[in-house]
């Protein structure tokens, strides 16, 4: 495991090998953050690239007050949200009531026949969910951040995140149980 402080110091000395090392080390984390926020693979790659350019530009501001991974994930989340807003790919909900009224729509028999793999089905279901649900599901389960860390990354209060996580998982469990 590379020492975070040493790596950051080398990047700040304009060592591009160290920067490449940093990208290799954190690219999976960034991809996971972005993975369910952006639905298109080309968008994901563009966002990831932009994230690392921002990381390089702002690394001198990183004061080791949090883990480097949390700091990079915050940049990744903000970049993805800005990208979605900028290209108006979908609305970004602000109002919790909008989320409470979310339910999955029923698929047609043809659509159901086309779904062979349950993992792919789950992925498609998550992509249909509102942005905040997708964010908390991904950061909690895939990136394995704690709710406190997710609060730091997204700025959403921990209690709200907990309720989003509960409801998102409940909706998915119910939908998957109907599908089986």
């Amino acid at each position: 495991m590379v020492d975070e402080r040493e790596l950051v110091a080398r990047v700040l000395r304009q060592d591009y090998n160290a920067f490449e090392e940093l990208v290799n080390q954190y690219q999976q984390l960034v991809l996971y953050v972005v993975f369910r926020l952006a639905k298109n693979q080309q968008d994901r790659e563009d966002i990831c690239q932009e994230v690392f350019i921002k990381v390089h530009k702002n690394l001198h501001r990183f004061a080791f007050e949090s883990k480097l991974s949390t700091w990079i994930a915050t940049i990744a989340y903000q970049t993805a949200i800005n990208y979605i807003k900028k290209f108006r790919r979908e609305p970004v909900p602000n109002e919790p009531l909008e989320l409470d009224s979310f339910y999955f729509t029923e698929e047609t028999p043809e659509q159901l026949l086309g779904i062979q793999d349950e993992r792919e089905y789950l992925h498609q279901l998550i992509l249909q969910m509102p942005l905040h649900y997708r964010t908390v599901l991904t950061l909690y389960h895939l990136n394995e951040f704690s709710l406190a860390e997710i609060q730091g990354i997204t700025g959403i209060p921990e209690g709200t995140l907990k309720s989003y996580l509960f409801r998102a998982r409940q909706l998915l469990k119910t939908k998957l149980s109907q599908h089986r």
Partner: protein, 142 residues
Amino acid sequence: MDDTRDQLLQEWLDRAPDSPPPATTSDEQADLLAYQTLFSQLETPPTVGLPYGFARRVRQQLEQRAHRRSDVRFYLFCVGLFVVSVLGGYSLLVLVDAELARQTKLVVIQHSGALLAGIVLFLGIQLTNSQWVQQQVNAWGR
């Protein structure tokens, strides 16, 4: 949907439990199994990834930006140096021969268009050259 039961099951799974599961009836056990499957699927990494050589590509992009910035600084320095040289030369000429300085100034003003075109041409050649070299470097890097 039974919110209380779902909450208990989710909390139990979140704690990575040692204690016995809060599920006794067959309905509860079915829900527990559904949640266990869901949690395991949610933790499965996606099959898509970033392209091979992604880190190198980002690095190249950053290096290009840094080169561009240093090129711009160099061109601005050149233009500054040129202006300072012209002003310095003119000041010296004024001290040595005021009449000659006046005539030189008139000639420079008369041909200011050509002078400006010369500067623009110089910068244009430098810029095109650096872009061409960068393209060649990128082509070798691929």
